[in-house]
Symmetry: C2
Subunit: 318 residues, 2 copies
């Protein structure tokens, strides 16, 4: 099969060539979309590179899942509803079995969120995947990093540190207790908090997804919103395995470990209980601190209300 036949066989047939707002899907020089008049278009692109963002020997299914999930996570953090995807797949060889496994996992996750693959590219080269997700929000309603106000409460969805711990365990397994399968899974198959993001659209003052570690990503909210924050170490929702290891390491992994893909967001204090109940019905959320006026400063407080100093710098991509 040549490039076009591969796309036809593994991807194009899985998606409609036009449907509703999609005027033209895979199969021409470009795709055509009618963005609904009352909506703004929200766009995010992410690339995953073999040996950098995933292990060289990761399964085709996990690679496909993670490639799509991390871009969905960005769209979730904007409170947008994901709709259309483009995919550029660069592969060292035309391995049909691998492509079949990749596409079935990719197509299944896309289906779960009713996404349509509308185009992309297939190239020969070192294994890498670029996904762009296109979502929609009612005009003016998308969440940003910049809306946090002094006095707002800081929340995170889900539990933190599972992916970072799984990575530590894989790289240094002899000295650490084995994480549960569900926690290992978080490294390869993070859950994009799409429904939580959409629910937050009308209530959160700011939002970001935690891809580089809580402190680094909350730091972006603080910088964009020109505020500070105080976090209570004891209120962080540590992933289960972190409760079995050295406390300082657990804190470091939960606060600076990458790849959580949970949402960190701010809510005005004193919201009605039903707002939080509605959020909780989708995914547990945890209040971990307060927005303060100290510009761009981030204070960590321990259980005795004493400042806590963390040991390492946040993860950096590059």
């Amino acid at each position: 099969m040549n490039e076009f036949e591969i796309i036809e066989h593994f991807f194009r047939q899985a998606y409609p060539s036009s449907k509703g707002d999609l005027v033209l899907g895979i199969g021409d020089d470009a795709a055509i979309i009618n963005v609904p008049n009352d909506s703004e278009l929200v766009i995010s692109m992410d690339t995953l590179v073999a040996g950098v963002h995933f292990f060289e020997d990761a399964s085709a299914e996990d690679i496909a899942y993670k490639s799509l999930a991390v871009s969905l996570s960005d769209i979730a953090s904007m409170g947008a509803s994901p709709r259309w995807i483009t995919l550029s797949l660069t592969l060292p060889e035309k391995n049909m079995t691998w492509i079949e496994r990749f596409s079935s996992s990719f197509n299944a996750l896309a289906k779960e969120y009713s996404l349509i693959l509308i185009g992309g590219d297939l190239s020969k080269g070192p294994l890498a995947i670029t996904v762009q997700v296109h979502g929609v929000s009612p005009k003016g309603k998308s969440l940003r990093r910049s809306g946090a106000n002094v006095g707002d409460l800081i929340y995170v969805s889900g539990k933190l540190g599972a992916a970072a711990y799984a990575l530590q365990y894989i790289q240094n397994s002899t000295s650490l207790p084995e994480p549960a399968a569900s926690e290992k899974q978080r490294l390869h198959r993070p859950t994009p908090r799409v429904k939580t993001g959409v629910e937050l659209r009308d209530v959160a003052t700011s939002c970001i997804d935690i891809s580089d570690g809580l402190l680094s990503d909350l730091g972006h909210i603080l910088k964009a919103s020109k505020v500070g924050a105080e976090l209570n170490i004891a209120d962080i929702p540590y992933s289960d395995s972190l409760k079995k290891i050295d406390k300082d390491l657990a804190i470091e992994l939960a606060l600076t470990g990458g790849d959580d893909y949970e949402l960190c967001f701010t809510l005005t204090a004193g919201l009605p209980k039903d707002v939080l109940d509605e959020l909780e019905s989708i995914c547990p959320v945890y209040c971990i601190g307060t927005i303060t006026s100290k510009s761009a400063e981030l204070l960590l407080m321990d259980e005795n209300d004493e400042p806590y100093n963390i040991k390492t710098e946040a993860y950096r991509h590059f």
Copy 2:
């Protein structure tokens, strides 16, 4: 500089964070666009990989130019006006000089077409560049591959074969006459026919850009339009260097060589002269044949009106 500082320094500062239809540019988890209500959104993504789509030792400036130009060419072939770009840059090392040169060339070409970079990604890994261009057309007006009708005339913009000849010359220079600098340039810096595409929007019945060679790409029009074609070898606009070499090789390069990034399009026969004059005022266009009813068959005729058989298969990506 970390990832965010590099983006800030080399890219973000070169573009507005919001302007007109752009609600939010680089610097959040995603970009936000208000697509005009009377427009449809046209989207194309392309990846270029070092050693596959360009030479490993190509200049940062040429790589940047070509990465953007090839995606612009796809948008041009739809007759759309390019507006917003996303860029994913994967680099083996954080070489600031290289990034500075890449970004200045990329930003300059973007400026030439009034494009705004709205987001993307920066990763460590083998050199590769993915660009997605987002354009707009009046609703229902974008060109497709599927509209060619029996009796339509087949045209191409510009001259063919320069890039393929430059590649042959570089790989096998001793036996071939040296191409002019402007022809060598076509391999590294193809001209996306954006203005021609927009002009064609109201007159062409189908359009495609020639990235894989005329026969291969015209073949896509024939397949999508369920028609055949007859091309006259003598009417092909051969690039100047091709006139100095063996005739069969010249025909092969012009008809099957990749990387032309000219437009191939069909026009109803008998259009008023001013339509063609208007097209000619932007870029020369050449009538090379006729759409026939022979489904998916492509006949080549020589100057004696005898069938001509070409020797090689069209270039394949993969």
